[in-house]
C-alpha cells in the first residue's frame, strides 16, 4: 500500500513495531484500522504487540485534564483499567486531530476538549474492542457475542487471555463502521470518582517535561528586547554592554522590527545581555494612551447610542417601560485589562533537521496556528513542519493566540540565524506581564425597571469594549452582523426569562492586543448580570435565590431547569440564609460553555479592616462528569482564578506603557485567600460540556454580592482593592 510521507513519519515517530493495532477515524469520518506497517490513517488508539494501549490525545494538557479524560474514554470502551493505558500527545494534523467544534483546526479552547472528544474517542475505543473480540472469536472458534473484555482480559466462558494475544490478528481485520458504544450502566471508569490523574506522579517528582525544560544539543536561548509601548519599532541597537556578558552571542533586529532578538548560550546570559542592550526605538506608531483615557472612552461609549442592537430589541419601548417603572436601578460597571500570567512563562524551541524540516517543541494549545504560520515563514509544505506538544504550565487562554504570536516570534528569531543551532525562545515574567495579550477592558451600563409587585419590566444593557474575535481567523464563526459574540455572551442568550430586554454593544478602539482569558466575555458579563439580579431582588424585597428562580421557572426549558437546579443545589449545600454570626453570603449563577454553575461565597470581617473568604460552595451541572475529581478541581481552580483577579489585579497603562512588571504588582491569589471550597456535581445523563472555564464567571459577582450584603458597599469597578475593599 502507498503511504503518504506524513503518515510514514508519523509511524516512525510513534515507533510502531511489529504487528500493532491502530484505530482511528479517517478524514471521511469512517473508522479504519490496519497493522502498524500498513496503517492508512493517524490513530487515536495504538496497541502495541505486547498489549500496551496508548491513547493519542489531540488536546494539550495545561492541567485541565485531557491526558486523563481522553484515555478514560478509550479505556472504558475497550475494557481496561486506567493503569493499562498510556497517553501521548498527537502530532499537528488539522484533518485528523481537529477540534470537531473548530472546523479543520486543531486546538484547545472554549472548554471543549471533552465535549468534542466524547463520542470520537469512545468510538475509537469501541472499534478496537470489537476488533479484538472478533480476533478472539476466530482464534477460539466461538461466537463473538459471548466474548467480553474486562481489565484487559478477553473472556469467553472458561477461556481467557490478555488482549496482547489478539493484537496481531485483530490488526488484520476491517474496522467496524458503527461500533457499539457502551451504555452508561456498563461504565466502570466514566464517572468513577476513584480515578486519579495520569500526570500526578511526574508533576510531583520533577520528571514532567514542559517546553521550558527542553534542552536540545547545542541550542541557543533567545530573548526579545521589547519596546515599553506596543507599536514602537526598533531602528537599531548598541550591544557593547551586552558583549561584556559571558555567554552572549549576538543580537539582531527582528524582521518585523517589533523588537531585537538577543541570542546567548544559556538563559541567564540571555537575561543579562538583554538587560544590557540599548535599543533605539521609533515611537511614531506606539500606543500613547493611558488606561484612564481608555476607560473614559469606554464610559463615553456606554452613554451614547449603541452601535449594535444585539437582540434586535425595540429599544424605545424597553426604555419607556423602565422610565415608567415603579423602581429603577441603574449601575455602571468597569472591568480592567487583565494578564493571564500562566505559571510557565511562554517559550518554545525550534530546530531544523538535516533534511531541512522544522520541528517546534511547544506547549501547543492551537497547533494549527503555528503550523500554518510556519508554512509561510519557512516556505515549507505542511508535512515538513512538525509540532511536538509538551506539557504546558497553565494557559488560561494565553497560549491560544490566533496569530501564534510567540511561536512566530521564535520563528523570526530562528530565521535570523544560520539555523545550525536550535533556538529556544524564552519569555520572562516581565515579558508576560508587560508585553502580553490582555483580557480587554469592558464597561457595562445597566438599567432595570421593576413594577410595584417587584417584577422586572425592562432591562436595558449597554456593553462597550475592544472586541476579541474581530480581525482573527475565527471571525466567521463568532462575529454575526457585526456583533462579536464574545463581547456580549452571558448577557445575550442568558437562560433568564427577562421580559423587555434590550442589549446594545459598541466596539471601542484598539487599545492593546487582546485575547480570550479564562471564560472570555463571561468574565465581565456574569458580574454585571448577577450583581444587577441581586440589586433587583433587593429592590423587590425578595430573597436573591427566590427572585432568580422566578426567572428560571419554565421547567420544560432545559436551560432554565438546569440553571435553576444548580442554584437550588448551591443554596441548599451552603445553608443559604442560615449562616453563623459574623458570616455573610452572596450568590451568583451563570451558564457558560454549555455548563451551569452556581456559587455561594461566604465571608467574614469588613471592607475596611479586611474581608476573609471563609467558604465557597459550588454546584455544577456539566452533563456527565467523566472524571468527577477533575471536574471538582477545575471548579476549585476556576473559582480561585476569578476571585484572585477580581480582588486585586489589573493591568494599567501610563502613556502607552504597562505599569505592572511582575508578581509583586500583579498579585497571584495566595493559599490563605480562600479557606474552603466545596464542589457539588449534579448527576446527569447529558453529554459532557465545559469545565475549564465555567467555574470562573459566578465567583466574582457572588463575592461582590456578599460584600454588598455585609456592608452595603457595591463594587462596580474592579479590582475590588481599588474600589476601597481590603482583604484579610
Amino acid at each position: 500500500m502507498t503511504l503518504t510521507s506524513s503518515r510514514r513519519s508519523f509511524l516512525k515517530g510513534v515507533a510502531a513495531v511489529g504487528a500493532a493495532l491502530v484505530v482511528g477515524i479517517r478524514t471521511d469520518g469512517a473508522l479504519a484500522a490496519a497493522s502498524g506497517e500498513t496503517a492508512q490513517f493517524n490513530p487515536f488508539v495504538k496497541i502495541d504487540a505486547d498489549g500496551t494501549v496508548t491513547a493519542i490525545v489531540k488536546h494539550f494538557e495545561k492541567g485541565q485534564g485531557p491526558a486523563t479524560g481522553l484515555p478514560t474514554l478509550i479505556a472504558e470502551e475497550i475494557g481496561l483499567r486506567m493503569d493499562q493505558i498510556e497517553y501521548e500527545f498527537a502530532p499537528s494534523n488539522p484533518q485528523i486531530y481537529n477540534n470537531l467544534l473548530f472546523g479543520a483546526f486543531q486546538g484547545t479552547g472554549g472548554s471543549t476538549a471533552m465535549a468534542n472528544s466524547w463520542l470520537q474517542y469512545r468510538q475509537a475505543g469501541a472499534a478496537a474492542r470489537e476488533m479484538l473480540i472478533a480476533a478472539a472469536a476466530q482464534s477460539w472458534g466461538v461466537d463473538r457475542t459471548g466474548i467480553t473484555i474486562e481489565e484487559g482480559i478477553v473472556k469467553a466462558g472458561d477461556r481467557s487471555a490478555p488482549i496482547a494475544e489478539f493484537v496481531a490478528a485483530a490488526s488484520q481485520l476491517e474496522a467496524p463502521a458503527e461500533p457499539r458504544l457502551k451504555e452508561p450502566s456498563e461504565f466502570h471508569l466514566i464517572g468513577n470518582d476513584s480515578i486519579r490523574r495520569k500526570d500526578s506522579a511526574i508533576k510531583g517528582n520533577g520528571q514532567a517535561m514542559y517546553a521550558m525544560d527542553v534542552h536540545l544539543p547545542n541550542q541557543m536561548v533567545a530573548m526579545i528586547k521589547r519596546p515599553e509601548s506596543r507599536g514602537a519599532t526598533a531602528i537599531g541597537f548598541d550591544d557593547s554592554a551586552s558583549k561584556e556578558v559571558k555567554g552572549y552571542i549576538n543580537a539582531a533586529v527582528l524582521p518585523n522590527s517589533a523588537g531585537v532578538a538577543v541570542y546567548a548560550e544559556n538563559t541567564w546570559a540571555a537575561i543579562q545581555a538583554r538587560d544590557a542592550l540599548e535599543v533605539e526605538w521609533d515611537m511614531s506608531g506606539a500606543e500613547t494612551r493611558s488606561s484612564d483615557q481608555i476607560k473614559a472612552e469606554i464610559m463615553a461609549a456606554l452613554d451614547a447610542e449603541a452601535t449594535y442592537n444585539v437582540n434586535k430589541a425595540d429599544v424605545a419601548a424597553v426604555s419607556a417601560a423602565i422610565d415608567g417603572a415603579e423602581k429603577v436601578i441603574e449601575k455602571t460597571f468597569y472591568f480592567p485589562l487583565l494578564a493571564h500570567a500562566p505559571m510557565e512563562p511562554l517559550n518554545c524551541t525550534i530546530e531544523q533537521t538535516a533534511e531541512g524540516e522544522i520541528i517546534l517543541h511547544d506547549g501547543a494549545q492551537m497547533p494549527t496556528g503555528p503550523h500554518m504560520a510556519y508554512q509561510e515563514i519557512f516556505g515549507l509544505p505542511a508535512e515538513k513542519i512538525h509540532i511536538k506538544t509538551m506539557l504546558a504550565g497553565g494557559s488560561f487562554g494565553r497560549r491560544a493566540t490566533p496569530d501564534a504570536d510567540y511561536q512566530v516570534e521564535a520563528a523570526l528569531a530562528f530565521v535570523l540565524t544560520d539555523r545550525s543551532r536550535p533556538v529556544k525562545l524564552v519569555w520572562t515574567r516581565e515579558d508576560d506581564i508587560r508585553s502580553g495579550y490582555y483580557r480587554p477592558a469592558f464597561g457595562h451600563k445597566v438599567r432595570v425597571g421593576l413594577n410595584a409587585a417587584g417584577d422586572i419590566v425592562g432591562w436595558q444593557h449597554q456593553v462597550a469594549g475592544q472586541p476579541i474575535i474581530k480581525g482573527t481567523l475565527f471571525e466567521a464563526f463568532m462575529v454575526h452582523d457585526g456583533v462579536d459574540l464574545t463581547s456580549v455572551e452571558g448577557v445575550a442568550e442568558s437562560p433568564y426569562q427577562i421580559p423587555g430586554m434590550a442589549i446594545g454593544l459598541t466596539d471601542t478602539e484598539k487599545a492593546t492586543s487582546v485575547l480570550w482569558w479564562r471564560s472570555v466575555g463571561h468574565t465581565h458579563t456574569a458580574y454585571a448580570m448577577e450583581v444587577m439580579m441581586d440589586l433587583a431582588a433587593k429592590a423587590a424585597g425578595a430573597d436573591p435565590v427566590e427572585f432568580r428562580l422566578a426567572y428560571l421557572a419554565d421547567s420544560t426549558d432545559p436551560d432554565q431547569r438546569r440553571k435553576a437546579g444548580v442554584l437550588r443545589l448551591a443554596a441548599e449545600k451552603a445553608g443559604w440564609g442560615t449562616v453563623a454570626d459574623g458570616r455573610v453570603q452572596g450568590i451568583a449563577v451563570h451558564k457558560s460553555f454549555g455548563s451551569y454553575v452556581a456559587e455561594v461565597v461566604e465571608i467574614s470581617g469588613n471592607p475596611d479592616d479586611g474581608i476573609k473568604i471563609e467558604k465557597v460552595t459550588c454546584a455544577v451541572d456539566c452533563g456527565i462528569a467523566v472524571n468527577p475529581d477533575v471536574v471538582r478541581a477545575q471548579m476549585e481552580g476556576g473559582i480561585g482564578y476569578g476571585l484572585g483577579h477580581a480582588m486585586r489585579d489589573q493591568i494599567t497603562l501610563t502613556d502607552g506603557a504597562v505599569d505592572q512588571y511582575n508578581f509583586p504588582d500583579y498579585e497571584p491569589l495566595r493559599i490563605g485567600d480562600i479557606a474552603q471550597i466545596d464542589v457539588h456535581i449534579v448527576p446527569s445523563a447529558e453529554a459532557p460540556t465545559g469545565v475549564g472555564e465555567p467555574g470562573t464567571p459566578p465567583a466574582p459577582p457572588a463575592l461582590a454580592n456578599a460584600i454588598a450584603a455585609l456592608s452595603g458597599e457595591l463594587v462596580t469597578a474592579l479590582p475590588m482593592v481599588e474600589d476601597g475593599v481590603a482583604f484579610a
Binding site: 494538557e61 495545561k62 492541567g63 485541565q64 485534564g65 486519579r196 490523574r197 500526570d199 500526578s200 506522579a201 511526574i202 508533576k203 510531583g204 517528582n205 520533577g206 520528571q207 514532567a208 517535561m209 514542559y210 521550558m212 525544560d213 534542552h215 559571558k246 544559556n266 538563559t267 541567564w268 537575561i271 500570567a341 500562566p342 505559571m343 510557565e344 512563562p345 506539557l391 504550565g393 497553565g394 494557559s395 520572562t428 515574567r429 475529581d629 477533575v630 478541581a633 477545575q634 476549585e636 481552580g637 473559582i639 480561585g640 482564578y641 484572585g644 511582575n662 508578581f663 509583586p664 497571584p668 491569589l669 495566595r670 493559599i671 490563605g672 485567600d673 480562600i674 479557606a675 471550597i677
Partner: protein, 154 residues
C-alpha cells in the same frame, strides 16, 4: 569560574559566573529541570530548593554562596521520609493541575513538615504563602500537607 556543588548528595563541578543564580546552574548547566523558573524575583516559589535542609528560592541564591552547602532538588525528594510522604499525599489527592509550581510547593511543604510535623491550616497558609499556584490548587495543597502529616505519623 569553577564551582563544586554538593547537589543531591553528589559533587558537581560547574563553570559559571559567581553571581549566577543557582536556579540557572541547576536547570541550564546541570539539566535538572524539576526546579522551575516562574518569576525570577522570589515572588512565586516555583524555584524552591533546599539548602542544608531549609527551603530557599534558587532564583535569588548565587552560586558563589552555596559551595559547601547541601543542595537538594525535587529530583531527590523521594529519598527522604517526609518527601516521599508529601509526594504520596499529592498523588492520593491529585493536588496538581498544570503542575508547573508543584516542585516548589512540595519543597516548601517538606520544609514545613520538617519544622512542624502537625501544622494547623493557619500554619500551613502562613508558611506556604510565598508559593504561588496560578491554577489555584491551594485547597488541595493544604489537604495534601495534612495528609502527609498523617502518613508520617503512621
Amino acid at each position: 569560574m569553577a564551582f563544586t556543588l554538593n547537589l543531591n548528595g553528589e559533587p558537581r563541578t560547574v563553570d559559571a559566573e559567581p553571581d549566577t543564580p543557582l536556579l540557572w546552574v541547576i536547570r541550564d548547566e546541570l539539566k535538572l529541570t524539576g526546579t522551575k523558573f516562574g518569576c525570577g524575583v522570589a515572588s512565586c516559589g516555583a524555584c524552591t530548593v533546599h539548602l542544608d535542609g531549609a527551603p530557599a528560592r534558587s532564583c535569588q541564591t548565587y552560586v558563589e554562596d552555596v559551595e559547601g552547602v547541601e543542595i537538594t532538588t525535587i529530583e531527590a525528594m523521594s529519598e527522604t521520609a517526609i518527601g516521599a510522604a508529601v509526594q504520596q499525599a499529592w498523588i492520593e489527592l491529585d493536588v496538581v493541575q498544570c503542575g508547573y509550581c508543584q516542585s516548589g510547593q512540595i519543597m516548601s511543604a517538606v520544609g514545613l513538615l520538617a519544622e512542624n510535623p502537625k501544622p494547623s491550616s493557619e500554619e500551613i497558609d502562613d508558611y506556604m504563602s510565598g508559593n504561588a499556584c496560578r491554577c489555584a490548587t491551594y485547597q488541595r495543597i493544604r489537604a495534601g500537607i495534612h495528609r502527609a502529616a498523617e502518613i508520617l505519623e503512621g
